[in-house]
Symmetry: C2
Subunit: 755 residues, 2 copies
């Protein structure tokens, strides 16, 4: 059922359930209120269910204990290698950005003393030159490398295989690309792309391995777990937050996270974080020492205590951050829709847009500090002016730390803490907020973390500076929270308001801040921000997933799903096979449709199992060699040999198969019974959609046969059909509202009988 | 199917699957190698599946949007109240212990100067007096309050309802009990009982509420989520570790943890931690300030960097800790078995044992310091001598911090840091290890955290002191890790080796240490310890669950489960009902068996759904009032009324129902169709046990009907039967071995086709 039958699905045909007619409650006529949107081409769902055929069971039981141990050992090895590779990529990006920013700084320094127009031209030209590289790669080489990549990774882990999303090519475009787009001074971060790079590494290592040891990892479920480990190690490497990485993969990604997968991600994250700590400390000259450095760390926050009255202030900041985030998401949604209509995902128009936006952004970055200080001499810049010119990670630290001197690779910012003007800071906040919104969705690799953290930090610092006056707090009083902590809370609020991640985000920020001390205020801010934001929009990553029409299987069905039955959703035009089938018919079935699996039914119509396309191809390809093709008279004799499970199952070229068959083979009969997934789950046709949804999500299914009374096969629901029909019937996901937070009314409200 | 049919299950009857006979691979004859152990009486499984009857669907769709919002609001309110109550209980226990320890200290101080025999008598007598209280309460009032309670909570969250495990009575015995057992100086902690107390609070608040608003929370699934929130807030309150709390509930507890449940636990944990921080800082005089205090916190660790060569040392300490933990578990298993045979769970023998063990423990606690320093004057005690006399939490801090002066409520330990003798420390380590092993399983509330942390800290400090010599490290060199950090790693290793918790344990310890700095070494130590320990035994909590024969549904099926089919596991002596049934027959069914649900079958034997016992009772009880009982001629007319779902469904007294019926009612017919769970999952009889296991675990089922060809009902698998038969066929859980860690070969090895 690879092709989606979504739009063609007939409305509920009220076929009576024979002698046991269940009267469904009436379905409100407000359903079917939305158009079905077709997903992008090439999307495949993945299948995590147990394929319980005789062939597989024989294979699984034949593996020796030593073989299993070897497999487990190789898996641990893979996990550790993914951690190491992700760490290396993160270090490469981090050092690369530093180097490029240094070069850009040198150019600007060299032009100092020349006319302001020349300085401006040098500043903007340098940025345009930098941004030309990632723009070209995204617009003409690999459009999937645009943006942060987190929506794509989320889809992959959910069970939707967008083509090339975790491939080597994407990695090779993304990692060097983000280096240049960040170095160009654009309001974008390198952290999202680091996470995507980690996922790519997981995918490449899992799927491209050759040899008998590695071949066994080329399954959907192993790939997903390795990609999950890779993505989480990307977080770990980017923020030095191994724990946040694991939680990020759990909260945002994997629909199916057992303690085992958790531990594996954990080891992968620890490896990546250890490597990054070791290398970054070493490169600074302290080889052997394990510092606290990471591509994005917040430096050491003071251990001062906070007051109980500050908690409501933090909560209020969370609410404001959530509202700002919702505004950002709304504007960005419209912008993205406009981009999709008028610019498209690839090509010269998108490439030109990159230059236009970069020109606007860098012009503002250049002229605002000049406006503030009346001169383009960085040594005279105020703090807010510096924020425009410095790399985002340095600016964040500047806002977070009141007492500390910040140094960075750019020569412009090596002087001590400058004076702070509240109005200038406010102007920076507003402008940067707008520029970040303009940039996200541009045709360059660009993360969301740094711009939202920086915007939020500016907002928070502003609050911190304002709060300290009326309450008479002084920074040097040990009992008082300093404005840097307010900046941290502001950053938390803004990021949470945009991305709507709660637990994992809070943990990432806690780990980046280096101290457990601020965990509770961060948590409170985070939850309040999400709460406020959910009143208006869903998270930005989810918005981008929806705009791409990717069929994402949510954790819980919509409330109304209980009124829709499986019958309304299933595809009824079944292509079935019999347990004993001729070669001719099998070939014909494979040629005529692109379904991923076929229900196996008896002549009476009784459903007996599901047969996957790849297994059917294997039977045709290898059947002759194993003597599985036989005359009709002998068919079904139990003496027949079975093709071993480990035979290649991925050859899809039917022509090659046909070439190997002679004319008389076509009439021969194959006993398909050993290859059928005989335990395959089914649902009765009157089962409600909530149940179907939960089964798909909980068991990681791709196909679910529907049976009517007497076990007669009457339809198949595919993952894609399920989601598209849900969208069609129930509308796209809406924000859950304040009382529910991440849709808390969803799964449980449908499962707990009294709600 | 409440009664277990486990032992009576017939071996695989190879009933041919009619026209589509699937030849199962041969099952190795080594199965059925274990005796089935019957679980303790009164155990009920809980059911988290959607009960998709017309009655329920009508009810669910009728609830207004405002009603749903109100429900969600009440749920948030409950979650916050659970957090507050758990925080209050934690503070009560913490302050109570401090007070009682102070009283005991005063007694000992008063006796100073008297003869050593009198001092000894005073010391031991005071302890025996204290321990008499919790001992009495556990042995004669509520035996479930013994031990840490974590195994019981784990079982509850897994879906096994041990009677009274989260009741008010248990809470009222546990919380005051642990106060005295800790104050008596026994090697036990208050943290496990705090977690159990939190779970009890969740259970009480969820289930005992009256009124229409609260009644809707009296469902299995809501109770489980509230108990999970309560248990996690217990961790949060005990360690000041909100994040660790959430992860603990995820890793150890809930088999079913969606992001929604996670966020709810998170809010609960944050509330509890905030309250504890606020109160503990306030009680020390800093009202309004939010400190870092918690019932068990490690104080502030220095921010020094560690060297790369220390990582292997930590890893090695992890391995040693894992081996020590495995030894502890093995000895404790034998001890517990001996206790179960010779002492029992309640009564005078168990009470006497408490006194005997306390006498042994306190005698050693008294005499060892005297041996070390030749005198019973605390001011002359060496550091190791102090460890014997101080409360565990103080001793842990003493071992963790080299420079700091420790003060505690006992007058004996208010003097500055004493000298440290390695041999004395070693003696303390060995003795305390033994005493902790002797104590765990005694008839008093006693946690495992503090004794294992303290043993481990002694071991780690020993290593730290030894390491610093050959490597020439000095404590005051900022580039060198101090021995206190080694103590932290030792504590991690020992606790992880006993409990075999990884991610959540590491997070708890990181949060308790107050700094993210040491997270990576803690993670590495933790994983190595678990790895080493898994070579020999499973975790101590799991051991105690197994010793009690509680049917716990593991996250993943055993490897061999793929060779067993549903047919081999199911109960075949079905008690079924028809869609139209007489009152007489329904009453008879309810009286004759105690099954929790009944398959509904047509006269042809075709399965059409499942009917829960409580619904059947409701039909009998309320049927007359709603006119549901009718004559045979009118039966099945669709005009019949349906009993509303919200009618009481928990009255189990059949006599009362009978009294309300007159003779002619018995012959009347009830149309049961609106009450049948019509979407109920089924599996074909040849489906393998792995699949059945995953369906049970993933969907939270209690009953799973098994059908044969044509949809004919042929058996039912209950949760309990499944687990008992798995144990019978496949043996009890064995440690997973070094390459797999927490059974990494489990679920995935059975689901990934190439292993």
């Amino acid at each position: 059922m690879t092709a989606t039958e979504g739009p063609e699905i007939a409305p509920a045909s009220a076929a009576p359930f024979a002698s046991f007619q269940i009267v469904q409650p009436e379905v409100p006529q407000t359903l079917a209120r939305h158009q079905v949107k077709r997903p992008p081409p090439g999307i495949e769902s993945t299948d995590f269910d147990l394929y319980e055929s005789k062939q597989y069971v024989e294979h699984a039981t034949a593996i020796s204990s030593a073989g299993r141990r070897l497999h487990a050992a190789v898996r641990w090895l893979l996990v550790v290698s993914i951690g190491i590779c992700t760490g290396v990529v993160a270090i490469f990006i981090d050092l690369g950005v530093e180097k490029l920013v240094g070069i850009r700084g040198d150019v600007n320094t060299a032009l100092r003393g020349r006319s302001i127009a020349l300085q401006y031209a040098g500043f903007v030209g340098c940025c345009l030159l930098f941004v030309a590289i990632p723009g070209f790669m995204v617009c003409f080489v690999e459009p999937l490398a645009a943006g942060s990549g987190i929506p794509e990774v989320k889809c992959f882990l959910n069970g939707v295989h967008l083509p090339r999303v975790v491939d080597l090519k994407t990695l090779l475009v993304k990692a060097p690309g983000v280096l240049f787009s960040v170095a160009a001074g654009m309001p974008c971060g390198k952290e999202g792309p680091m996470i995507h790079s980690g996922a790519c590494i997981g995918g490449v290592i899992g799927r491209k391995g050759a040899g008998p040891l590695m071949r066994s990892f080329r399954t959907d479920i192993e790939t997903r777990d390795l990609v999950a480990a890779g993505a989480s190690s990307g977080v770990a490497a980017a923020f030095g937050a191994p724990l946040g990485g694991v939680l990020f993969a759990m909260e945002e990604g994997a629909s199916f996270f057992t303690p085992v997968v958790m531990l594996r991600s954990f080891v992968c994250c620890t490896t990546a974080a250890l490597l990054v700590r070791f290398m970054l400390a070493g490169i600074k000259g302290n080889w052997g020492q394990m510092g606290q450095a990471a591509p994005l760390s917040f430096d050491y926050f003071s251990q001062s205590a906070y007051r109980i009255w500050e908690m409501p202030v933090f909560a209020l900041m969370g609410v404001v951050g959530g509202l700002c985030g919702a505004g950002f998401n709304t504007v960005n949604t419209h912008l993205t829709k406009w981009r999709m209509r008028n610019i498209g995902g690839t090509g010269i128009k998108r490439y030109l847009e990159v230059f236009v936006v970069t020109f606007i952004v860098t012009s503002i970055m250049f002229w605002m500090p000049v406006c503030f200080s009346g001169d383009n001499d960085p040594s005279k810049f105020s703090m807010a002016a510096k924020l425009f010119r410095e790399p985002g990670t340095v600016s964040i630290k500047r806002l977070f730390h009141v007492h500390q001197n910040i140094t960075s690779a750019t020569s412009e910012s090596s002087d001590p803490q400058a004076s702070l003007d509240e109005w200038e800071l406010f102007a920076f906040f507003i402008l940067y907020y707008g520029l970040a919104c303009l940039t996200y969705g541009l045709g360059v690799p660009s993360g969301l973390f740094v711009p939202s953290l920086l915007t939020g930090a500016a907002f928070g610092r502003l609050i911190g500076e304002l709060v300290k006056e009326p309450f008479g707090c002084r920074w040097d009083d040990p009992g008082t929270t300093d404005p840097g902590v307010y900046a941290l809370m502001g950053a938390t609020a803004m990021l949470s308001g945009m991305a709507r991640i709660t637990v994992s985000l809070a943990v990432i920020l806690m780990e980046a801040s280096g101290s457990v001390q601020w965990a509770l205020p961060i948590f409170v801010t985070c939850v309040c921000s999400k709460w406020a934001g959910d009143l208006f929009t869903i998270g930005l990553y989810d918005i981008h997933i929806e705009l791409k029409h990717v069929p994402l299987l949510e954790a819980a069905p919509e409330r109304e799903a209980i009124t829709v039955s499986a019958r309304d959703v299933m595809a009824k035009d079944l292509v079935t096979v019999s347990p004993l089938e001729t070669v001719r018919r099998i070939l014909q079935v494979l040629e005529d449709c692109s379904h991923g699996a076929f229900p196996v039914v008896l002549s009476s119509g009784v459903f007996v199992g599901l047969l996957k396309r790849d297994t059917l191809v294997q039977v045709l390809r290898r059947g002759k060699a194993y003597g599985v093709l036989c005359d009709r008279a002998q068919a079904g004799a139990s003496s027949a040999q079975t093709i071993p499970f480990k035979e290649e199952r991925t050859i899809w070229n039917l022509e090659a198969i046909k070439a190997a068959l002679v004319e008389e083979d076509y009439a021969k009969v194959v006993d398909l019974r050993p290859y059928v997934n005989q335990g395959c789950y089914t649902v009765p046709e009157h089962a409600c959609l909530s149940r179907v949804h939960m089964l798909f999500r909980g068991m990681g299914l791709r196909h679910l046969p529907v049976v009517k009374e007497g076990g007669i096969a009457c339809g198949v629901i595919t993952r894609k059909d399920l989601i598209l029909t849900e969208h069609a019937h129930l509308g796209p996901r809406s924000p859950a509202g304040p009382l529910s937070l991440i849709g808390s009314e969803t799964l449980l409200r449908d499962r707990s009988p009294d709600v």
